[in-house]
Symmetry: C2
Subunit: 108 residues, 2 copies
DNA sequence: TTCATAGTTCGAATATTTTCGAACTATGAA
DNA sequence: TTCATAGTTCGAAAATATTCGAACTATGAA
């Protein structure tokens, strides 16, 4: 797949306000878990409902888009679904942007 | 405007393959100009047509979206239009992502 | 002033996204 | 085995995005 196609799909997944909020919550929970040394580093789906005005089918749909874009990894844990950010894809975004822009060392 | 709304608009602007390609070309030309110490740091619109299968109205439309998302700044130079990346918005994207993820210093 | 070139605007056809109700599956508890 | 809960799938309505032809404006050259 062409680089621009791959990344445009990633950005499309982040182009919806609700979906971006979901992703940032998952990223943040990753961070929180990292801080507390919790090996799970995951976020139960139910957490995502909080403060969001999305119905269950919508949330499920959005989550699938994030998984499809390789941004999020889900795992079924009994009755619950837990989510964590795919930090590999996360890093690829940063790398893409930096690759096309001025190198850090050349900054004024 | 809410943070997620603002950034979802930015990501939406990058969610179309053609538009992402345009943006990366503009970013890259910024980098090239920086390297040659060319103060202009700009990319003539005609350059963007190269290797792209987009019609003029489509390119114009896409460019407007990038400008609207504050990703690109255009300037009319006689008969031509030149574009450059808004590095302020660029940096905001990096900051948003890093803010929500594990701090660099905590990386394993 | 006439022409060619660079780019924009308008309008419309087509495709894709977004959202949600209704009906479904899967799991754990009683 | 019955029930409640967590989440998914399906289908469809409404909203948005994509693309491009045709017609337009603006500039510089002849």
């Amino acid at each position: 797949m062409k680089e621009t196609e791959k990344f445009s799909k990633i950005f499309k997944a982040l182009s919806n306000p609700g979906r971006l909020e979901i992703y940032l919550k998952i990223l943040k929970s990753h961070k929180a878990d990292f801080k507390t040394k919790d090996a799970a580093s995951s976020c139960p789906l139910t957490q995502l409902y909080k403060n969001m005005k999305l119905g269950a089918p919508t949330l499920s749909h959005h989550l699938k888009e994030l998984v499809h874009a390789d941004l999020v990894i889900t795992e079924k844990d009994g009755k619950f679904v837990s989510c964590r950010a795919n930090m590999n894809t996360f890093q690829q975004i940063i790398t893409l942007l930096n690759k096309h822009s001025v190198e850090q060392t050349e900054k004024e």
